[in-house]
């Protein structure tokens, strides 16, 4: 990657939306310039040989989800139905994927 990356308006608008920020024009232009410099700096990582980087990060594997069995529960009223889970010592108690709490 040569030179300083330039984030066009579309890039910046997308990043701003993902970051849930609402920048005015002045702030947007200042941050555009900053981001370009930061990304150029970050690209220095490319100087580390690929061989040195091998072995540390496993290839992504799909871990099958362990779904809890559906349960049908009856509640006396709406209040009970929407009540938070049990609490213990200030923490919510929720079953883990094995059904234990």
């Amino acid at each position: 990657m040569s030179g300083e990356p330039f984030l066009d308006d579309l890039d910046l608008e997308r990043v701003e939306r993902l970051a849930q920020l609402e920048l005015d024009e002045e702030a947007r232009e200042a941050l555009r310039a900053d981001l370009g410099r930061i990304l150029a700096f970050a690209a220095q990582m490319g100087e580390i040989p690929d061989q040195a980087c091998e072995g540390g990060v496993d290839e992504e594997t799909v871990v099958p989800m362990r779904w809890r069995a559906d349960r049908v529960l009856r509640f006396e009223g709406l209040a009970e139905a929407v009540a938070a889970p049990d609490r213990r010592e200030g923490w919510f108690v929720t079953p883990d994927s094995d059904g234990r709490t």
Binding site: V15, L21, L39, A52, C53
Partner: protein, 479 residues
């Protein structure tokens, strides 16, 4: 006011045992100093009118301390020096808070910091910067600058900081103190507001290695609330070999300014003359550690800070829809540096950029980790400068993010590698500014690190250096 001086934990304990001091008199003295000097230093974010007192029988009974404004204390403000958490009060204690209370320590307040830990000068606080007590025109470093300033000014014997890329070590260096970043997983992060979860660690700052070691012993240990804490299977003890070996990555010294580099070379010569064995090591990937860290920390921060939206707590700026409320709250609540990091982190994780930035950074981190483990196989600890410069003037770097990130070139490698690292005063300039060196140890080798650091404390005459550092006796009308 003296330079970096003041009672150690051991001196306070001895004073109480001999009846010269009491927990009440120590507290009164600490509070008086704090109240007198805080207007000039601005080291505090929150001062507690009623301190949090601890148990009467613990090893730190009666010892006053300060915590960083991103560590939870039940019933107290927890705002990370950010407007977005304005008015938020923590409903629970961090594990470190609980452990220090059980040990008898007395908590006086929360210290100023760079917002959410993002910075190296404590100038990114929503409430204004902290000043370095050794020179009020300079920064105390960051992001734990308030903690460092308070300890260096002699208010308390120790304070808690948090270290993601160097935020305990670098301010310790800038204020003439000892600062520890523990092995990742040694100290619980439960109750630490997350910045970058694979990098954050809580660590103590104090004037002496013994004090840091004593506080670390209280903080460390497995915590069921933080599943990243571990109990090491084979913890190295504190026994040093007859001829300790220090590994020096000489090629990294190019990253330091000439004055820091020349001082560091003299330190190495001192160790060599004292009979320690100096071993040359190579850390080629670590030249780019700050670039790797910049991507990973920003990516993790963008995820961790997504929860702050003004809807349930903190500062809310109303919009015409909930989405607009969230955007306005975040835009007005976060400072410029935090926005910068969130945006760069979001970009690094974006679907079409992730391979170039985030994934690449994760793989490059492995290179840094591996070369550290190889280097540590040939020595008892690595030795390098803590910071590339002396404490810099307030305002010099606050608007230049890359120059600010450059403060972390010597601290980010150990963070990426998850290794314990200790900053230690090593001398002073003629102008009274502190020099600092950093020891990096093998995983879970804090006790050995402390043993080696105690040797260096003697060789570098740290007690004398701290006593002679610039005295804070400027005229009352100084800025």
């Amino acid at each position: 006011m003296t330079g970096v001086a003041g009672p150690t934990i051991a001196a306070l304990r001895e004073g109480m045992r001999e009846g010269r001091l009491s927990a009440a008199s120590i507290l009164e003295d600490a509070r008086a100093k704090l109240l007198e000097e805080e207007p000039r230093l601005h080291a505090l974010r929150h001062r507690y009118d009623r301190p949090e007192t601890g148990g009467a029988d613990g090893p730190l009974h009666g010892v006053p301390y300060l915590t960083k404004a991103n560590v939870a204390v039940a019933g107290r403000p927890l705002d990370c020096a950010s407007r977005i958490l304005e008015g938020y009060v923590s409903p629970f204690d961090a594990t470190v808070t609980e452990r220090l209370r059980a040990a008898g320590a007395v908590l006086l307040g929360a210290t100023n910091m760079d917002e959410f830990g993002m910075g190296s000068s404590t100038e990114h606080s929503c409430d204004g910067p902290t000043r370095n007590p050794l020179d009020l025109t300079r920064t105390p470093g960051g992001s734990s600058g308030g903690a460092a300033a308070a300890v260096a000014a002699g208010w308390v014997p120790f304070a808690l900081g948090s270290d993601t890329g160097g935020s305990v070590r670098q301010p310790a260096a800038f204020c003439g103190l000892v600062g520890l970043r523990p092995t990742y997983g040694r100290v619980s992060r439960h109750g630490l507001v997350a910045f970058a979860s694979s990098l954050d660690q809580i660590g103590p700052l104090a004037r002496r290695v013994d004090d840091v070691a004593e506080v670390f012993a209280v903080l460390a240990g497995v915590d069921p609330h933080d599943t990243t804490t571990v109990e090491p299977a084979d913890e190295p003890d504190d026994t040093l070999p007859p001829v300790p070996r220090v590994g020096v990555p000489r090629s990294l010294l190019d990253l330091a300014t000439p004055v820091v580099r020349e001082h560091f070379v003299r330190c190495v010569e001192t160790l060599d003359a004292a009979g320690l064995r100096v071993v040359d090591v190579e850390l080629p990937a670590s030249h780019r550690a700050t670039a790797i860290y910049t991507v990973l920390a920003a990516a993790e921060a963008s995820s961790n800070l997504a929860r702050f939206d003004g809807l349930l707590y903190g500062r809310r700026v109303e919009g015409t829809s909930w989405e607009e409320t969230v955007r306005r709250s975040r835009t007005e609540g976060f400072g410029r540096e935090v926005q910068r990091r969130i945006l760069s982190g979001v970009f690094a994780l974006a679907a079409d950029q992730r391979a170039h930035y985030h994934d690449r950074a994760r793989r490059a981190r492995h290179a840094v980790r591996e070369e550290h483990h190889r280097a540590l196989a040939s020595c008892d600890a690595l030795l390098l400068p803590t910071a590339p410069t002396l404490p810099f003037p307030l305002g010099e770097r606050v608007d230049d993010p890359l120059r600010m990130y450059g403060s972390d070139v010597f601290t980010t490698p150990a963070s990426l590698a998850g290794l314990p690292a200790l900053a230690l005063p090593s001398g002073a300039t003629d102008e009274g500014l502190p020099h600092s060196v950093q020891l990096v140890g093998a995983p879970f080798a804090e006790r050995r690190l402390f043993a080696l650091a105690r040797r260096l404390e003697e060789l570098f005459e740290v007690e004398r250096v701290q006593r002679d550092l610039l005295r804070l006796d400027l005229p009352e009308d100084s800025p």
